[in-house]
């Protein structure tokens, strides 16, 4: 394993703006604010940044942020496709860059006015109207009314329910859990506002079987991460969050949000592929993961991902949750920041920051046990990405 990038790079700084519904300032400024906050957290000078790694649906190019902040030189910059599915992949890019010596300080950010500006839940994004192969897949869903991610994921949820006997209440328990964690997180939009299962059950349908409270928020804000070599991170103020695994995945017959032509549409081979790589890179097994941040744009995907990552068998995630394993004091505390359902929707990057806090021991819902290894996942069902962050011990 010594020749791989595993544990040779670390997240040394995290920083964010407030998470709101109307930031009142430009996305560009949100990006700059979050980058500065993350660098201040790491105590690394702004002019030392020599790389940026981003993922698509980011409206602020790295050159705009570098220009605004007076960063003189960038030696590494990349952009991963597929929106939230790629959320963890820029950290892989950053880890590869710093562990190979291509760059020394790589910053990852996501900043947008996703609530006060263009809302992903409102309909196809502006780029959907480009007539090219990248958007051609829309021919087979959009003309029939499947226009938003919730509508496109509903087919999987419906099938999963029928196959395993899962119910809307099972999905609702994911929402209740996240809102409980968010209620104790001052940074969360839903701070102090837990929900009961009955509130989930009485929330209106968006795209059956998904209800309003199965859907994540829409948020304004920025979140940034600073990645340096493990060696350097050890000399910085915070305990390093070592990147012991970082992987991407595309499965057979993959289509964005609509891989409907596989034998079992409720299975996500791209997630299983990421899982397999993370275990191989890190040398860990699911039982050795102490906490997880599971991408929760929609509640069913938390259950499906838990199964693909091997924390329980297929169809068993609802029982795994019901048995209390995902609670702060459970075997696998999940989304301790409140998730995108409760804290804010920063396209998964706020979840990576929570992974770092868990490793540092500074989550507002820090589990009572030692946290050595945390799994963080990107969105699904799209091309997927994931990370394992580890304590330096």
């Amino acid at each position: 394993m010594s020749q791989t990038f595993s544990r040779r790079a670390a997240i040394a700084g995290i920083g964010a703006t407030e998470f709101s519904k109307d930031s009142g300032r430009s996305e560009w400024r949100l990006a700059c604010e979050s980058v500065l906050a993350a660098l201040a957290d790491a105590q690394i000078g702004v002019e030392e940044v020599d790389g940026f790694a981003l993922f698509t649906m980011e409206n602020n190019p790295e050159i705009a942020v570098a220009r605004a902040l007076g960063i003189p030189e960038l030696k590494f910059f990349s952009r991963i496709p597929h929106g939230g599915g790629g959320a963890c992949a820029p950290v892989q890019q950053a880890a590869l860059a710093v562990s190979s010596g291509v760059a020394d300080v790589v910053v990852v950010y996501r900043a947008f006015n996703e609530r006060s500006g263009h809302r992903f839940g409102a309909g196809p994004p502006p780029f959907a109207y480009a007539q090219n192969t990248d958007q051609e897949y829309r021919n087979w869903i959009n003309p029939y009314g499947l226009l938003t991610p919730a509508q496109q994921e509903a087919f999987l949820a419906q099938r999963y329910m029928a196959k395993y006997g899962a119910t809307s209440e099972d999905f609702g328990r994911v929402s209740v859990l996240s809102r409980k964690h968010a209620a104790n997180n001052p940074k969360a939009w839903f701070h102090g506002r837990p929900i009961r299962l009955e509130e989930h059950q009485s929330s209106r349908f968006i795209a059956e079987p998904l209800r309003l409270l199965d859907c994540c928020q829409e948020s304004d804000g920025g979140q940034a991460l600073v990645i340096v070599s493990a060696e350097r991170a050890r000399d910085l103020p915070h305990p390093p969050a070592l990147i012991s695994g970082a992987a991407q995945g595309v499965g057979p017959q993959q289509i964005s949000m609509s891989s409907y032509y596989r034998p079992d549409i409720d299975e996500m081979p791209e997630v299983e592929l990421v899982a397999r790589q993370l275990w191989q890179q890190s040398g860990l097994r699911p039982a050795e993961i102490d906490a997880a941040v599971i991408y929760d744009a929609f509640t069913p995907m938390v259950l499906l991902q838990l199964e693909e990552y091997g924390f329980c068998g297929r169809g068993e995630a609802k029982d795994y949750l019901l048995d209390g394993h995902l609670e702060v004091d459970g075997a696998l505390p999940v989304n301790t920041h409140g998730g995108q359902l409760g804290e804010g929707y920063l396209h998964g990057v706020n979840g990576i920051a929570e992974g770092v806090r868990l490793v540092r021991g500074t989550s507002t819902n820090q589990p009572p046990k030692a946290i050595d290894n945390v799994l963080v996942t990107g969105g699904s069902p799209v091309p997927h990405s994931g990370l394992v962050l580890s304590a330096d011990r």
Binding site: E136, P143, L147, Q151, Q253, Y261
Partner: protein, 147 residues
């Protein structure tokens, strides 16, 4: 009426046959000319044998409901809501997404038999729609285009 947010169809050399067929009320399925594997959505090559040679077959337009959703929000002017949308397993073995007419949303069930007809969609496109199989249990004529 506000403008629909449905993106216009992207026609390519690989898929224009399908939309031309739909315009005529015919549901075509792309077929590999070398190994006969069917594929949908259309593409330039056969994922099974990598052949670029293909022809088409006409579907029986019959199948069973593999999954569905009933959409309430957000609402687009191109549709009436609640809007049922289905994923159907065609008898030929490929799948197809289309909106569903003639079934109360509460009566939708996985595995129920449906047939494909054609109807007007956004941007004046004629595209598939799913509906219950008529009592006579025979597919309507290929040129049966609903309003």
């Amino acid at each position: 009426m506000s403008k629909t947010s449905v993106p216009p169809i992207t026609r390519t050399h690989d898929n224009v046959f399908w939309f031309d067929g739909a315009q005529q009320g015919r549901l075509l399925i792309q077929r590999c000319a070398d190994c006969a594997t069917l594929r949908h959505p259309p593409g330039p090559a056969c994922p099974a044998c990598r052949s670029f040679e293909w022809d088409t077959m006409e579907s029986s337009r019959r199948g069973t409901l593999h999954s569905f959703t009933v959409i309430h929000h957000p609402q687009d002017p191109a549709f009436t809501y609640p809007l049922a949308v289905g994923l159907i397993d065609l008898a030929e073995g490929t799948r197809l997404v289309a909106d569903i007419e003639g079934v109360e949303p509460g009566d939708l069930q996985l595995g129920m038999e449906l047939e494909v007809v054609f109807g007007a969609h956004a941007h004046d496109e004629t595209l598939p729609r799913l509906r219950p199989v008529p009592a006579a249990a025979t597919p309507s004529e290929p040129d049966g285009i609903t309003a």
